[in-house]
Symmetry: C2
Subunit: 335 residues, 2 copies
Amino acid sequence: MTALTNAQFRLAARPSGLPKPSDWSYTEEPVGTPGEGEILVELEYLSLDPAMRSWMNAGRSYVPPVQIGEVMRAAGIGKIVASKNANFTAGQHVYGTFGVQKFAISDGAGVSVVDTELAPAPVHLGALGLSGISAYFGLLDVGRPKPGETVVVSAAAGSVGSIAGQIAKIKGCRAIGIAGGADKCRGLVEELGFDAAIDYKAGDVRAQLREYATKGVDVFFDNVGGTILQDVLARLAKGARVVISGAVSQYNNEKPAQGPANYMQLLVTRSSMTGFVVFDYAARYPEAVAELAGWLRSGALRSMEHVVTGGIEKFPEALLELFAGKNFGKYVLAL
Amino acid sequence: MTALTNAQFRLAARPSGLPKPSDWSYTEEPVGTPGEGEILVELEYLSLDPAMRSWMNAGRSYVPPVQIGEVMRAAGIGKIVASKNANFTAGQHVYGTFGVQKFAISDGAGVSVVDTELAPAPVHLGALGLSGISAYFGLLDVGRPKPGETVVVSAAAGSVGSIAGQIAKIKGCRAIGIAGGADKCRGLVEELGFDAAIDYKAGDVRAQLREYATKGVDVFFDNVGGTILQDVLARLAKGARVVISGAVSQYNNEKPAQGPANYMQLLVTRSSMTGFVVFDYAARYPEAVAELAGWLRSGALRSMEHVVTGGIEKFPEALLELFAGKNFGKYVLAL
């Protein structure tokens, strides 16, 4: 094996607002040798996720914050270069939280082999990855939609939202997406089969919710928070379920986060708002992946990936593009 | 029957902030005669409730707003003066939403006979009335506390909160009350058996929550909203249930209501926040009243009433005293 060089983005400072170049440090170092029980992975695709911004903050969250100086946390897919772990062999494609780097050494914990015959690698970060699994359990287990009900999804053109809305359709619901921009909204309806899409950048979200959700909103799958959460709370049907999956509108806030001023609509409509973290469903991931894969094969579900090339050097810029909402579907950085 | 004169408080204007004298009109008129199927009730006790403030606002809520010119809505207990309804006889004490007036004519809908042998009339507005029933279903059905869990109640010295905390104790939970003032806090612990009480006017609520709820808060029964809701959200245990029963801190706001800025703690802790309206449980009221009455008889539950005399003329002032938190237990105005 020739000497390999690893390249990494490490967290240099906790950002205030959007991450600046100075919040990152780019490091290079020789790739190490896997020890007994370990594998060496060459990363091919990085998953870029809105939640990454929240991992960069100090304070209590559902996962520990990334420490200053640590390689930035990221999920990815790579190929095993060398294995000293009996569960893996060189040449296999694997999924894991390998970090923003070219090579990773892992003991195999949390690493799973990816079937690239079933679908290309980026799909395993999208519809068949944590995005799809999040949409699956968040919508079905927490949202509990019934056929004929109206499901609203925010960040509907994002990796989780685009799947959640399609699952709502598969389950016989009316699906309304909220997204930013006419192109995304057209894509939701024409390519993914949503019943309606609301461009929050273009118009009055509440007026459009009244128009499209004439009987109110039974399930709201929220990835966004902020004013969009308030707009949907104002339109809840009786006994609605609000799934709090994320709050991307708030992650880059420099001011304190904005709480839903009209949360008393939960009382008015006898509704619930429930926080959801996909990791709690780890034991049931195979169930979700099997069903999602079936839907993909049958054509009931489409996986959208926004694959950006440019290598690891592009990571800081790519993350800003994600926060600017440039992607339709799963944002994947090809290394 | 000699000619009787009715006296009433009607809503004259929708208040901004606390209700001013000019928001009311005091009217007198001759008492009418009950028609076929109707009863004439002479009111003896009015129930004063924080929710009354919300009924005075225009806009979507769980009950229609009181209209301008309408007699202010209020629950009360009175004695039947005359009955042309086969279900009622003169001399009976009855509970109903009779309004802020001395006499009411009713067709009997929503009116129930009150057993003043079981307990004095004010108790039927408190522990055996909607306050107790709200505490019962809100805590047990929505909060679902398990023995050994920590239950926090806000406005714990109020009519609903004082019962909710005691039910938590009956069910084997640790009960922590949040109230305003040292006297109330002492009363919660010494008279009602709460494990601890936090005086939100005196100190750092979050620090005291850390001290008293060492393992976090499993159930929060919230009557208050505002910063207290945020303080408790910051201390939720995993899988906690937040019962939204009211938001008295917000009812008299002139500014837009304050939403919980840290609502993402619901995600961090995988908790839920659910709106609760007691009217949804109307079919099950007898079940609650039977159990509450049993606890009262056994001494497991104490009903606290703050009975104020002064007649109907005192109503506007009494309502302001309620909002200022002068009461310990159920605020009842004796007519």
